[in-house]
């Protein structure tokens, strides 16, 4: 009875969030440029993956996207993958943004908020750095030049780890 009461009271706010140490949710989402082609997060097991939630209306995303693109090119051959999860309501807005900030990494569209809910995204942009075993190791909320330096350090250390 007490547990039900507590659950009711706690139900007022959502305190849960995906933090470091949790396994990456094994979900799939349609590719941004081709809705018929699903991209599975489970298929990335064995790689160091950065799942980045972004949108065209998100200011810091204009800084984070070129940084992530450079990192994908720098560490891609060693097994680093960036998956950009777009949170725009209209895909056309995302395309307009990508014309200004072109990126080459995998992009998916999360129209139904399934991924955002599974990761319980608390800020935009939010990035989840996942190790080769599929465990979330670092979470970045927001993006500054400090995040860039930290991300470089974290990615190069995770790439050193054995799968």
């Amino acid at each position: 009875m007490r547990a039900i009461l507590l659950a009711c009271l706690l139900g007022c706010g959502d305190a849960w969030a995906l933090e470091a140490g949790a396994p990456m949710p094994p979900l799939a989402a349609p590719a941004l440029d081709d809705a018929a082609q699903p991209v599975s997060l489970a298929a990335t097991r064995g790689d160091v993956v950065y799942v980045d939630f972004w949108a065209s209306w998100c200011g810091p995303c204009k800084i984070s996207m070129p940084v992530l693109e450079a990192m994908q090119q720098k560490y891609g051959k060693r097994g680093f993958r960036v998956i950009g999860v777009n949170k725009d309501v209209s895909v056309a807005d995302a395309r307009r943004f990508l014309r200004q900030v072109p990126v080459g990494f995998t992009l998916v569209h999360d129209g139904g908020d399934k991924l955002a809910r599974a990761f319980d995204v608390k800020a935009m942009p939010s990035g989840y750095l996942v190790d080769r075993r599929g465990v979330v190791r670092y979470v970045h909320r927001g993006f500054t030049s400090e995040s860039e330096a930290a991300l470089q350090r974290e990615v190069s250390s995770l790439l050193e780890e054995a799968p």
Partner: protein, 68 residues
């Protein structure tokens, strides 16, 4: 205890409407701004006193230090 449970269930419905950070695309649209950036805010400020037959009250005096 039953009453308390009922209260918890009912008060749960009073939780504020929560807009998730990833849902703020709608709020970021230019049409959602209080001031569209074309001087409409200033125009409203000018018109308001004549409509209301009273002026002032649109802002607070002082420098924001809370000392006056």
């Amino acid at each position: 205890m039953k009453g308390l449970l009922l209260a918890a269930l009912v008060l749960g419905g009073c939780a504020p409407v929560h807009v998730a950070p990833y849902e703020r695309g709608y709020l970021a649209r230019p049409g959602m701004a209080f001031d569209a950036g074309l001087g409409t805010g200033r125009a409203m400020e000018k018109i308001h006193p004549s409509k209301e037959a009273a002026s002032g009250g649109g802002s607070v005096g002082g420098g924001g230090c809370g000392c006056n």
